[in-house]
Every structure is written in C-alpha cells, then in structure tokens.
C-alpha cells in the first residue's frame, strides 16, 4: 500500500508538472507586437517610497533593459510595481522548452520582481535551509526541480 501511495504521490507531482506546462503555454501574450505583458507585484508601501531609479538590486541590474510602471493599488493595498522587458521578445523565448529548462527571460524577471518586493517590505529575501535534503530520490529530485522553477514567472 505504501508503495502504491508513493506512486500516487509521484503521479500527483507529475500532474502538477503537466499543469506547469499547460499554464505556461496559456500564458503567452496574445499579441507579440505589443511586447511582453507586464509582470506585477503589490508592495505594502506608499508610492512615494518606491522610486524607479532606486529599486533593489535584483531589478536595478536590469537597467534600461526593462520598463517600469509604479501606481497606487486600490484601497489600502499599497503600490503596484510592474516591469516588462523593453522591446519585442521572440516567441521562442517563451516556448515550453525554454520554460521547462528555466531559460524563459520572464522567469528571471519574475524572480527579480519577487525579490525586490521582499527586500522593500521585509528587508531580506528568505533563503531556504541548506542542504534541502541529506539524500535524494527520483521523486525528491522532481520536487526539487519544481521548487527551483517555482520562483519564476509567478505561476508554475
């Protein structure tokens, strides 16, 4: 029974992986001519506290390669910080293969955006414990892969 459950657990992880691919395929911009869509986070600070020229290093390192948009969130929800690559990005950059291999540029940009939010709000980016495990299994490696991809692009 335990072995059966293990197989089901692995199947569940694989199903989640399939969902990754499906979601990412759906996530392509409808009109490449308009460029990549904005990637957005909401930061629990006032708009006056977030200056485009003084963003934390993960985003600052992008320099002129990204556009930045800052606007108040509705109600008391803080400030929306949005970024996107400047100029057109070829469709192939967002292919399923690129996404699974972690080469889609949106993934790094999303990660940088998340980290910028954490730095602005909490002062640090929480680092996972290390090492992640003392011994690994195929199922564990798959979970590890999903974990490494998880920070990119907002959804798996």
């Amino acid at each position: 029974m335990a072995h059966g459950k293990s197989l089901w657990a692995t199947a569940a992880v694989l199903a989640a992986g399939a969902a990754v691919v499906a979601r990412r395929v759906k996530a392509r911009p409808a009109d490449p001519a308009t460029g990549d869509r904005w990637l957005t986070v909401t930061i629990n600070l006032g708009p006056e506290e977030i200056r485009p020229g003084e963003l934390p290093s993960p985003l600052r390192e992008y320099g002129d390669r990204i556009e930045t948009r800052i606007r108040p969130a509705p109600g008391d929800r803080g400030t929306e910080l949005a970024v996107r690559p400047r100029g057109a990005v070829p469709d192939s950059a967002h292919s399923v293969r690129a996404r699974l291999s972690g080469d889609d540029p949106r993934q790094d940009l999303r990660r940088a955006l998340r980290e910028a939010k954490a730095l602005l709000e909490a002062g640090e980016v929480l680092r996972p414990d290390a090492p992640p495990t003392t011994h690994d299994t195929p199922g564990g490696k798959l979970v590890g892969l999903l974990g490494r991809r998880a920070g990119g692009e907002g959804v798996l």
């Binding site: 335990a2 072995h3 459950k5 293990s6 089901w8 657990a9 199947a11 569940a12 992880v13 989640a16 969902a19 990754v20 979601r23 909401t42 629990n44 929800r77 803080g78 998340r114 939010k117 954490a118 709000e121 909490a122 002062g123 640090e124 980016v125 929480l126 680092r127 996972p128 414990d129 290390a130 090492p131 992640p132 495990t133 003392t134 011994h135 690994d136 299994t137 199922g139 564990g140 979970v143 590890g144 999903l146 974990g147 991809r149 998880a150 920070g151 990119g152 692009e153 907002g154 959804v155 798996l156």
Partner: protein, 391 residues
C-alpha cells in the same frame, strides 16, 4: 544533529542531518526543548500532501531556547525561552500587517507551487512540504527560525514548558476558529473533533461567551477529556445521530456556529465513509470531507461554518446547495499565530486556559517514530505526544 525525517509514505526515522545555520540576518537558531505531534503531520506522513522529499525534517509546533541570533534580530537574545508560531510571517507585507499571518507574501521559499495548487502562495510553515515553504521542521535538536522578531515569543515566567508548547499552533488555531467564525455571547457552538485543536476551539468559544458548546468525536478518552478539562458538552457520533442530536439540543434551530477541526482524513460510521475512502485512495479526491459536510448540514440557517482542519485539494459531494439555500457563511484558514500568541500566553499565565492535559505522552527524539505510530492509531489514549530532544 539528530532529526526526525520523512523517508517516504508512512516511513519515519531519526537521522543525522547538518546543524541549521543562520541563513538570513533576521533568523535565530533555537535549541529544541519540546515539540509535539500534530494531526496535520499525519496527512503528510501518509502521502496526502504532495511535494515532500525523502529526508525532509518534519514538525512545526515547538518551544525552545535561543542559542544564536542574526545580525538584524532586535527582540531576542541568547538564552530566551521562546514559543514559535508554526507559520512564519515577515511582519511587513500587507497580509502580516492585517494580521493574516499564514498568508504572508514573503516566507514561502517555493513561491509558484502554491500558485498552481491554490491560485496563490501561502506563507511558509516549518516542516510541512515544499509547497508550504520548504522550511526544515522542528523535530530536531536545533531549528532555524526566520523572521524571529515576529514569530518567536518569550514565555512568561510561571508558565511551564509543556503548557506553553501548545501555544505554538494548536491553541491559536482553535482560538482563531472561534474568533473568525464570529462566536458571540449567546451562541450555540458545535465543534467536530476532540483533538487538541478541537478542544482549544471549544475552550475559545466558551471564553468568547458562547451559551453552549457541544463537541463531537468517537474516542471515549477524548470525549471524557473534553468534558472534564474544557467544560464542553459532548456527543459520541458512533452512539447517536449527530444531526438529530444537535437539532434537538438547539431547539430545532441547529448550532449558530459549526467549527470543523478534523481535516482531510475524517472518519465516519456511515457508508459514505467507504465511498470517500475509495475515492481518496484512488486520488479521485484528495480529501475526505465527512465532518465538513456534516457541519454544513447541521448549521442553523444563516449560521457560520469554519473549516479548521487541514485540506489539500479537491473534495467530492460538497453540499453547496445547503450553503446557498440556508444562507451559510463558510470560512477557513491556516493559523494566524502571531495575531493570538501574546494574548494566549497571558491567558495561560492567568489560568484561563489549560493545555497541559493534552500531553498524554512524552518521549525522547529517538522514539518519535513510535510516538507518531501511537498518535496515528490513537493507542493508549494518546492525544498528543510531546517529543523532547534533550530527553
């Protein structure tokens, strides 16, 4: 150091793992004094929570002594005796700022998995899978506590370790259920489950002014404990029709507030239980929502149902018709510990809360796998096994 590791479905063992180190400036390292088994651990031990890795250290409800502090820690020093919230909150995102700590934006080191599973990331929790943050658990000699200024709380003198231990998770979880369900003076409250969380939800309902509190379970020792230590009425669901019993005890109305403290592996003596078991084992549904269904059916028109039990995904035969046609409010949450822990420690110190009776067994870390077996099978009257790495 030694730690209790998940090695696969229904396999636990005590292993040597590297000592934790400060990974962020707002971390502290805590030497474990005591941790406890939690019913929600059984879900991940049994393979119902995906995203576990062989070798993961489990455990999330604990108390210990600060032995090392990060450079940015302001509220703790070496030697402090602290109880730690099971959920980690950064303290400054919108959710933490609004006392919704288990929804923290900045403490899940695997953001994105939650997006796929739930539509949004949750906050991180110690030792509860890589979907819920991937943080190492607390059944170990030492544990790293991130954002410790917000999640670790000094234990007042006069409150013993065992009593304070449960303020890490089960007491605030139970309190939150009664509080966020809006229990008011005069209410009749029914609580499904007489484990630690259910007992604490019942006690919270009493302290919040409920006129009557009725707890439901099937384990004689737990029913007796709830009656004696909590002051709640009880119903043994194997001996009566719970719906009919609740209806008659409430003048035909049904309870004003129904709190479910059972979770995804609910038991029942009805044929529906077999149906749910088969579907869950085939992974056609992830959870067995027996108690949730019963709570929705039993609740009075216009009442509130609060789901405290842990659920992972999708359920079948959810009585949405009853929710709509009876005008119910259905709520749920993982615990917002930081919101309640200081108040709960004060109540413990004042003698308004009692938790030490929950600790039916105490074992050293080496015996933790056996303790979880006893806890899972509810043998020897086990309600909670306290694990003391120091013996």
């Amino acid at each position: 150091m030694k730690a209790l590791c998940w090695e696969g479905v229904n396999k636990l063992s005590v292993e040597e793992v590297p000592d934790p180190v400060l990974r962020n400036d707002q971390d502290v390292i805590v030497r474990l004094v005591a941790g406890t088994t939690c019913g929600s651990d059984l879900h991940l031990i049994g393979g119902y929570i995906p995203f576990m890795r062989s070798g993961d250290v489990i455990g999330h409800e604990f108390l210990g002594e600060v032995v090392e502090t990060g450079a940015a820690v302001r509220r703790h020093k070496v030697g402090d005796r602290v109880v730690v919230s099971s959920f980690v909150g950064c303290g400054r995102c919108w959710y933490c700022a609004h006392d919704l700590w288990s929804l923290c934006d900045n403490t899940n080191t695997n953001p994105g998995i939650g997006q796929a599973l739930f539509g949004a990331d949750t906050g991180g929790i110690f030792g509860y899978s890589h979907a819920m943050g991937g943080l190492r658990g607390s059944h170990a000699e030492y544990v790293r506590v991130p954002f410790a200024d917000y999640g670790a709380f000094p234990v007042p003198e006069g409150v013993d370790d065992t009593s304070a231990l449960f303020v890490s998770d089960s007491v605030p979880t139970g309190w939150m259920g009664a509080d966020l369900a809006g229990v008011r003076p005069g209410d009749v409250v029914a609580v499904w489950g007489c484990g630690a969380v259910g007992q604490m939800a019942a006690r919270a309902a009493i302290l919040l002014g409920a006129e009557r509190v009725i707890s439901i379970d099937r384990i004689p020792e737990r029913l007796e404990m709830t009656e004696r230590h909590i002051g709640s009425e009880v119903i043994d669901y194997t001996a009566t029709d719970v719906g009919a019993e609740l209806r008659e005890r409430t003048g035909g109305r049904g309870p004003d507030v129904c709190i479910e403290a059972v979770g995804m592996e609910a038991h029942s003596d009805s044929p529906v239980h077999v149906y749910d078991q088969v579907k869950q084992q085939l992974r056609l549904q992830t959870d067995r929502p027996t108690a949730v269904r019963q709570a929705i059916h039993a609740c009075r028109k216009g009442g509130t149902v609060f789901v405290l039990g842990v659920f992972a995904g999708a359920v079948d035969k959810f009585p949405l018709g009853a929710v709509i046609n009876k005008g119910l409010t259905v709520k749920g949450a993982q615990q917002h510990g930081q919101r309640y822990i200081p108040m709960l420690l004060d109540r413990l110190a004042a003698g308004e809360l009692s938790t030490s009776h929950l600790a039916t067994h105490t074992v050293p870390l080496d015996e933790a796998p056996r303790a979880y077996g006893m806890f899972k099978d509810k043998k020897d009257g086990c309600v909670r096994a306290v694990i003391r790495p120091g013996g």
